[in-house]
């Protein structure tokens, strides 16, 4: 077992060499590394090391499903009315729409009619006249996926507009979005931009009643009372009574830019062809009426239509600061979120703390390495030198593998490296102790080395695989930086098995062959 075929030697050396080659970029500065090709890069640094912001967002899919149920209620109401079916108690109950049919003779007719409403809706009419409408599981999943995917798209657009360097935006689980923004140390603005759904709509102002009347709770049917971002004279937010009907919505916009009008910041917008036509019609038919521009259920402004606007573009005036005009234009350009987003978790590390952590990690790694190397040398002498060479190769392989795999190195990941350094020599210790034992039992050196390796390998495998089990579970259930630890620990276990078994063995067989020692130096 201590004799190697040529190709085996070549393979071992090639793996070691590859380790050093792929670990090498980690010694370069950032600028130098940027010159290298994509596949030959230093290890990715986690946000806790390079500084940046980690946001875990949740898409409020429930809100969308709820809205969907609300519109189903309206559809049912219309349908029943059209077919002159008598019913009562129509409303949303949990995740379904329910109503009670009053006339037994109409049950069958109602069932058929309700079934035609939407193919995604399951209709049940019970004997007592209770009709239950639910969206199928499949339809809900499709809807959920659509909402989450669209949200991701909008989040990406908004963040791209901010010009963040290399953001990571990915779906996590069913309805979550993980946003990682390297180099962002104050994510306040990002959160502000992501915190708005930015649904823009144009409504006609309802002049048939006064705001005072509406505030007392008498809102005409088909209209609604909305707060304004502007304040009235008493400092309270002003209100408008507007028609519920959406005349035009923001999804027809193709562009939006901040601009100035009369030295005040405004937001200009441009509709697509369809939007332009509708905007033209709308303004033509409603000259001298007020058009309310509503963003997220707040009236931004409600200018009077002075003349038909046929070009499909216009400006939104309001009490904006320059920053607010910029943000609004950005939001309108990027589009509306289909559902509100909630920030579940935020972790931000400033760049200089990250740099401090890297430095601390480097010092700890080097010191840990030196201590272990020194200990092995002192304890084992010549054998210790072999173990130490294997340990250095191990470190190179570990770094090389992390770089090649594009793994992310976090601060706990550095802890994993340091820990690996301490634990990696275990395999060598096992082998050496076994060899010493075999020699005590009267075997010749070569014999003892051979037996030592062979016996120890089983133990090494068993003991390392159990630790690997823990590392894999940690990866599975850990999050963020802790996952980085699991990755380095797992890779470290694999590389240390390789180096302890193959590299040390190669070193020892070479040593046995060329210096022909009679006894073990320990």
């Amino acid at each position: 077992m201590i004799y190697f075929s040529k190709w085996k030697i070549a393979l071992i050396l090639a793996v070691c060499l590859a380790g050093f080659v792929f670990a090498a970029p980690n010694l370069l500065s950032r600028q130098q590394a940027d010159q290298l090709p994509d596949w030959y890069q230093p290890v990715n640094l986690g946000l806790d090391l390079q500084g940046g912001s980690h946001l875990l967002l949740e898409v409020d899919v429930q809100a969308v499903l709820q809205e969907q149920l609300n519109s189903l209620v309206e559809a049912v109401r219309n349908d029943m009315r059209q077919n002159r079916i008598r019913y009562a108690d129509l409303g949303v109950v949990g995740t379904s729409v329910q109503l009670r049919l009053l006339d037994q003779a109409q049950f069958e007719e109602a069932r058929n009619s309700l079934r035609r409403l939407d193919s995604d809706v399951e209709v049940q009419v019970r004997d007592n006249g209770l009709a239950v409408l639910t969206y199928t599981e499949q339809a809900q999943t499709v809807r959920r996926n659509a909402v989450v995917n669209q949200s991701i798209e909008i989040v990406r657009r908004r963040i791209d507009e901010l010009g963040t360097r290399e953001p990571t935006i990915q779906r996590q689980g069913e309805d979550r979005i993980l946003v990682q923004l390297p180099g962002v140390s104050e994510p306040e603005r990002v959160k502000e931009l992501l915190g708005r759904t930015a649904v823009l709509s144009f409504h006609l102002v309802d002049h048939s009643t006064s705001v005072e009347e509406a505030l007392r709770g008498r809102v005409p049917p088909g209209s609604m009372l909305l707060p304004s971002i502007e304040q009235d004279m008493s400092g309270q937010p002003a209100h408008y009574v507007v028609r519920r009907r959406v005349e035009l919505s923001g999804d027809l916009l193709v562009d939006s830019q901040p601009a100035f009008q009369d030295n005040r910041p405004v937001v200009s917008f441009r509709f697509n062809t369809q939007g332009a036509r509708r905007f033209g019609d709308l303004t033509q038919q409603n000259v001298n009426r007020q058009l309310a521009i509503v963003l997220d259920n707040q009236v931004i402004s409600a200018p009077s239509i002075r003349e038909p606007i046929l070009g499909g573009s216009g400006v939104i005036t309001g009490r904006f600061s320059v920053q607010e005009a910029n943000d609004l234009a950005l939001l309108l350009r990027a589009g509306a979120l289909p559902a509100p987003l909630v920030v579940l978790e935020e972790r931000t590390v400033g760049p200089d703390l990250g740099a401090d952590s890297i430095r601390a990690g480097q010092i700890a790694t080097v010191l840990g390495l030196v201590l272990v190397l020194a200990f092995m040398l002192v304890a084992y002498g010549t054998l210790g030198v072999f173990a130490n060479i294997a340990l250095l190769v191990n470190l190179a392989l570990l770094l090389g593998a992390l770089s090649l795999l594009g793994a992310t190195l976090t601060l706990p990941g550095i802890a994993g490296i340091v820990l690996t350094l301490g634990m990696a020599v275990d395999a060598n210790v096992l082998i050496f102790e076994r060899i010493r034992e075999e020699m005590r039992n009267g075997r010749s050196l070569i014999n003892a080395v051979d037996a030592g390796f062979k016996r120890a390998i089983v133990t090494i495998l068993d003991s390392n695989l159990t630790t690997l089990v823990a590392a894999i579970l940690l990866f599975q259930f850990g999050s963020g930086p802790v996952r980085g630890f699991a990755v380095t620990l797992a890779i470290g276990l694999v590389t240390s098995m390789f180096t302890a078994v193959w590299v040390t063995r190669l070193l020892m067989s070479t040593w046995l062959r060329y210096s022909k020692p009679k006894s073990l130096p320990v």
């Binding site: 306040e188 840990g368 259930f477 130096p521």
Partner: protein, 320 residues
Amino acid sequence: MALLKYMPQKFNFDFIGKRMIAFLVTAVIMVGSVAALAVNGLNFGIDFRGGLLLEVRTEGPANLAQMRQSLGGLGLGEVALQGIGTNGDEVMIRVQRQEGGEEAQLAALQQVRQALGDDVQIRRTEVVGPKVGAELVRDGTLAIALSILAIAAYVWFRFEWQFGVGALVATFHDVIATFGFFALTGMEFNLTTVAAILTIAGYSINDTVVSYDRVRENLRKYKSMPLLDLLNLSANETLSRTLLTGVTTLLAVVALFFFGGDVLRGFSAAMIFGVVIGTFSSIYVAMPILVYFNLRHSDSGEGEEEEESEKAKSEERAAG
């Protein structure tokens, strides 16, 4: 060099004979840990409890009293400040989880930022809402429980069921003791602590497996040796390796403890404790527990032949 020359060639400690003392120590550790957990509880970090954490640096020495006053006046509930680092200008601020959902946490962060003012440099912020906190608790618990079970299952699969039980007990012991360590010291228990516990479990099982491996081998080798002596022999034979590996691992984590920075201090403290307790448990818990299992009964005679033929083969090769 090669100081190992001066280490005795063979140890002959009566580990297993003294098992009653070992069990007593173990019982004290277990009872103490559970008591500490019951009395002190764990000092959960915001990962699990939810809330805010800010690490800030002030210009010049930090005035903790003043900071405490301005932040305490915000009505955010419990606000804990702690000076960290060596220059006296770094402060860790922890704010309890706010009532209300995720938005309430972010609003509180905004308030804290404003109260701190512009002179204070914010180096790190963490905000964990109630939902994520609860999930992290669940995932952490699941990870620890599953890893103990998986480790035991692996040992059962590779050895015999008795070894699996021994490994389960030893790992459980280490995990409880580490919990107790955190309850007793009041050190913050967070996500990296869970990582530390899993690593401790992995490390300890590593040790245990090495000893068990030797027991298995000796069971085949010495068919008639009394179990007690055999376990003692196995523990002594693997002792030098257990200690050497313990020392190198300790060297590495001690370096981490002193130089790895504040974020990793809790982790490395746990690891230092874990290496010691893991070494203890593989000698004094995992081994003596095997006395109570009828190991020979389930062991078949195949081992002997295998052993012999292997020996012959290797001798052949070495000679040729």
